[in-house]
């Protein structure tokens, strides 16, 4: 407990801000059905209604309540980005640890494969795959997770290579422990810190990618509320000087800034670099 309070005291204001924002977002996402005044799908009034006591942020292009969609959007957008990142980490970490532990042909094959994937710009690759498999939440999560796992792979492999060379791994091998046991009990705990920081960064990246794809109409599909597509659907309002469509965009920006601030601070702590 004392270390926790000491850590919290040493936090720079940016990190405190980041943690606070992330907490609020997660709470909103969890309690969305209780917080939102209306359903995310229900048409509750005319199109593009102004802000009022009844509809705090007005209504959207189909007459759905903006505030409710913004709240449910937190749930959909965050959950999908989180699953995609988690899946990317599961694939990338397992493959990376395997490559580092087994070495030789397995390492060569996996590493060269990742090199090739990374030679193509990410968004372009995603668009190509979405053309082939069609758009949908499942496809979206799978495609992004697989492409993003290449970056996790590189980090996990690099970190694990240093650990594999340690005596305690050798000792476990001599003892006759199995491959999975060594990966899970000897290597993974020692590689956890850099992977956690990377998780935050990858989450931001995945989150922005999904928001961008949804904005392009190729990500999360209607009638699910989602911040990226909310911006696109109501963008015409901006030309009339109405800032409502910018609110979901601001919500995206705010959480990304918050996560980046926290990651920045964790990186400083972990690496001991002063910059």
């Amino acid at each position: 407990m004392t270390t926790l309070t000491r850590t919290l005291k040493g936090m720079p204001p940016t990190a405190v801000f980041g943690v606070a924002i992330i907490t609020i977002y997660v709470l909103v996402a969890i309690f969305a059905p209780m917080l939102a005044p209306y359903s995310e799908r229900a048409v509750v009034g005319g199109q593009y209604l102004q802000w009022s006591a009844e509809h705090w942020l007005g209504t959207d292009n189909l007459g759905r309540d903006m505030l409710s969609r913004l709240i449910f959007g937190a749930r959909n957008t965050l959950a999908i980005a989180f699953f995609a990142t988690a899946l990317a980490f599961a694939i990338g970490t397992v493959a990376g640890l395997l490559a580092a532990t087994l070495g030789g042909m397995v390492d060569q094959a996996l590493s060269r494969f990742v090199d090739i994937i990374m030679a193509v710009p990410g968004l372009i690759f995603i668009l190509l795959l979405l053309t082939i498999f069609g758009t949908g939440v499942g496809t979206l999560i799978a495609v992004i997770a697989i492409l993003d796992s290449t970056r996790v792979f590189r980090l996990a492999r690099a970190v694990a290579l240093g650990i594999v060379a340690m005596d305690f791994v050798e000792a476990a091998r001599v003892r006759g422990e199995g491959l999975l046991w060594i990966m899970r009990r000897e290597i993974l705990p020692n590689a956890a810190a850099p992977l956690v920081a990377e998780f935050g960064m990858r989450f931001c990246f995945v989150f922005l990618t999904i928001a961008s794809l949804s904005f392009l109409g190729l990500g999360i599909q209607p009638p699910l509320a989602d911040w990226g597509s909310m911006v696109r659907e109501n963008a015409t309002l901006i030309t009339f000087g109405d800032i409502t469509p910018l609110l979901p965009a601001a919500a995206i920006a705010l959480i990304t800034v918050a996560v980046n601030f926290v990651v920045d601070w964790i990186l400083h702590k972990v690496s001991g670099i002063k910059d």
Binding site: T14, D115, I116, A119, V120, P121, G122, L123, I124, F125, L127, L128, L129, L130, T131, I132, F133, G134, T135, C204, L208, A211, S212, F215, L216, G217, L218, G228, V231, R232, A235, I238, T239, F240, G241, I243, P245, L246, A249, A250, I252, A253, T256, V257, V259, N260, F261, D264, D275
Partner: protein, 318 residues
């Protein structure tokens, strides 16, 4: 053969192999389609006979290697096939738009690169000053913003409130240069903001890394002016990482441009790509992906070669 030539040749060969493999990857991605292109084109109206006929017409009954060779040969002659959506040659759809996109990317690059380098050098020199800290928070915030957010904020203020620039970049082949610059100013500015933050952060990091090296301290101690230390001593060694950063961001421009083009209804390749993805028009998507990937790989190759050639340690044979 000197060490530099050997390294450069190695890198070129590797780049060529990468290009070839990526082209195979893009070609083969079609094979992942449930069914095949013939079925996809015919959709609901497909009967076994029409599918077979179309498959023969498209050459889908040939072995994959033959088809790949044919496809590659066509591309080297500028034949990217025909669009499924409207039956026009893909090349015809792309050419004009590619020019527009390159114009936009170049426009943003010309403003962003010098600006970002200057700011990055300043931040590194004035390390931990108020300017440096403010710039740090500002750039971290800027890179966290989705491009469309930046683009719409610019539209709201510069176009809707102040009426300085058009919110839609209506560009036709007959638009003259001055008008073109004026109409594409907002998209270029949105892109500039996105990449300036990245280049600036990385330039600063590269320089600060260098400043901690003993030879820079030596230069300071012997009384060289701060300007001379930066321009003569530090920058030459920082050149490779900085060129890398700049090229990486120019490569990023090619994908960042997609969103910005959609926001400003700019007639470029990015918007065509998005439209084609939603129509599942594979030949067009493949062609654009190939062109973008080639540009990306060539830019990275260029950065690698610059960093090999500019490395002072490789200048003298051992």
């Amino acid at each position: 053969m000197t060490q530099i030539t050997r390294l450069v040749l190695q890198r070129l060969a590797l780049g060529f192999v990468t290009l070839l493999i990526v082209s195979v990857l893009i070609f083969w991605s079609v094979e992942l389609l449930p069914g095949d292109a013939a079925q996809e084109i015919l959709g609901q109206s497909a009967t076994p006979e029409t599918v077979t006929a179309l498959r023969h017409h498209l050459g889908l009954d040939q072995p994959p290697m033959t088809r790949y060779a044919h496809w590659l040969q066509g591309i080297t002659h500028g034949d990217f096939g025909t669009s499924i959506a409207n039956g026009r040659p893909v090349l015809q759809l792309i050419t004009g738009r590619l020019g527009n996109t390159l114009f936009l990317a170049a426009f943003a690059g010309i403003i962003a690169v010098p600006l970002a380098l200057m700011l990055g050098i300043m931040a590194a020199l004035l390390r931990n000053s108020f300017f440096d800290r403010a710039a740090g928070i500002f750039t971290l915030t800027a890179i966290s913003f989705p491009e469309f957010f930046v683009a719409y904020i610019l539209t709201l203020f510069l176009s809707v409130k102040l009426g300085l620039f058009p919110s839609i970049s209506n560009i036709t082949p007959s638009t003259d240069l001055a008008e073109r610059v004026y109409r594409s100013f907002l998209p270029a500015l949105a892109l500039t903001l996105a990449i300036t933050a990245h280049i600036m952060r990385m330039t600063r990091a590269a320089l600060i890394n260098l400043f901690s090296l003993p030879y820079i301290e030596m230069a300071r101690l012997k009384g060289a002016s701060p300007g001379r230390v930066v321009m003569v001593h530090a920058l030459r060694n920082a050149l490779a990482p900085i060129v890398n950063v700049v090229v990486l961001n120019l490569a990023y421009l090619i994908t960042g441009v997609v969103i910005v083009e959609v926001v400003f209804v700019y007639p470029g390749v990015g918007r065509l790509l998005v439209d084609s993805v939603s129509k599942r028009d594979l030949p067009v998507v493949q062609a654009i992906c190939l062109i973008v990937s080639i540009t990306y790989i060539l830019l990275n190759l260029f950065a690698d070669i610059v960093s090999i050639v500019s490395n002072p340690r490789l200048m003298h044979a051992k």
